[in-house]
Symmetry: C2
Subunit: 293 residues, 2 copies
């Protein structure tokens, strides 16, 4: 699937298989909202973030199957952010993952409501994980706080706002945008898996550092791919297409690839304490840098 | 404050005093989003919902001060829903609580992001309550699940969607809309206070029943007030103004007031087991029906 190495393909399939099951039950009076949630959620994403959740749980000694709700929650938060990004008042994109953007497909109001409903459902799934894993008050609180902070103004929301209101073509601005829009959710994906697995804080910290650098690398590679491919082939358009201030428009393709490479090397260093147990997370990092879409 | 009886005025002041403190710390790169959150949150609401949270906690044996974060979270969820309702793609309202609606004040994109950030902050505050009250995994899970379900497609989001897409002037449709848009959050306000106070499920159930009927009564009174007052005096306009299908347009003012009266009586009956301890919740119910704004 999607050129992912075999192990990730298997985990990505696992997520794919449960995403529909984890949507809310059919709400007869608002069935169109659930349908809109399904349309965007099952639109063929790469599922890198939920795979990161599962691999992080495995690193911390639990099986991937034990954190499926969290993995689905992560993909719902991600999908929610994509729906909002595409809105006419944001990037005004009409295509996403090769299909009409949700607001084109069902109208703006239903799209906004589906995005909120996906976010709400993500927290509902996290509530399920708190009970399933019998988390202590401190751990339960950390799970909810981490997810909320990732979404909020100190995370994805702040990043998206600055992306819409860039100060100038400054490296620091771009780094802020990417680390908040993309990095925050990579960090949550990884630390959530570890927290649910009962990992101690030193492990959570290593994974956070790994995911932070991986997320930034991922976004830079996205910029590079975006600069090299026509929008149609990339499956998206809007303000996120050519013309946007990106790493590539700021430092060029070659330097961007070099920075991404450095970041992935730094990311892998964070996992050194785990030795061979981190092999799969390291190949996920390699995939992120070598992917062609 | 706002014609509330003295006890509520005092609790409403308490919420008012902490709402600003509970906003996210100044996020330098996205300060405008925090400012937008503040603009809408401190816009002079009646604070009935957070007062309901505090009185419910008191009924269950805790002090109002012990659930301030939850009370603020409730008001943030409420404010989030108002911002979304006012969007051009929804009710297209330009005035809210007597001020320009947020999307008029800061633009649509920032308004959507501020709404999203308020919702995230609400969950962050609930995370704080989980730790503060040292909730068991089951109780922590219930708090997060209840809040998520209240916001999601089986709650406010579903209600708002159906409000934008009414089937016909049918009583059941209106009841669905009101019980989901308004009732869900009234129920959450009340049960959250009780759960954090460690109330057993029979108490939580009584409060849920009380709040469900109170919420519906509140919304019907809103319809009545809306039909009697010019939009300017009511402090809002848009599709939520005259012309909208409401209880009043369906069954008239007199029957609407009668239904609201019946609902408040039914609500109070749910609190009978608590005798005099429920006196303040009962007078909150009386206020809801007798209020003039």
């Amino acid at each position: 699937m999607n050129g992912l190495p075999e192990k990730f393909a298997e985990l990505a399939e696992k997520v794919e298989g449960v995403l529909e099951d984890f949507l809310p039950a059919r709400e007869a009076m608002a069935a169109e909202v659930v349908e809109a949630m399904r349309y965007s959620l099952t639109g063929g994403g790469k599922r890198i973030r939920p795979v990161l959740t599962m691999l992080s749980a495995e690193l911390a000694g639990r099986s991937a199957a034990d954190v499926l709700k969290a993995a689905a929650a992560i993909e719902m938060i991600h999908t929610c952010s994509l729906i909002l990004d595409d809105l006419p008042c944001m990037d005004n994109a009409t295509v996403r993952r090769g299909k009409p953007a949700l607001h084109i497909h069902v109208g703006e109001a239903t799209a906004v409501l589906a995005a909120y409903a996906l976010l709400a459902r993500a927290f509902e799934l996290l509530a399920g994980e708190i009970a399933d894993h019998e988390l202590s008050p401190v751990a339960a609180s950390a799970v909810v706080r981490d997810a909320a902070c990732c979404v909020g103004v100190s995370g994805m929301t702040g990043g998206q706002w600055r992306d819409l209101n860039p100060i100038e073509k400054k490296f620091e601005t771009l780094e802020y945008i990417h680390s908040h829009k993309t990095g925050s959710l990579f960090i949550l994906s990884s630390t959530l898996g570890a927290r649910l697995a009962g990992a101690e804080s030193s492990i959570v910290d290593c994974l956070a550092s790994f995911a932070k650098n991986l997320g930034l690398a991922f976004q830079i590679v996205d910029d590079v791919l975006g600069s090299e491919m026509p929008a149609r082939q990339l499956g998206k358009d809007g303000a996120d297409g050519p013309g946007k201030v990106t790493f590539v428009s700021t430092i060029g393709v070659e330097s961007s690839r070099a920075v991404a490479g450095d970041l992935v090397r730094t990311a892998k260093l964070s996992l050194k304490p785990f030795g061979a147990r981190a092999a799969e997370l390291c190949s996920l990092a390699d995939y992120v840098i070598n992917r062609s879409r």
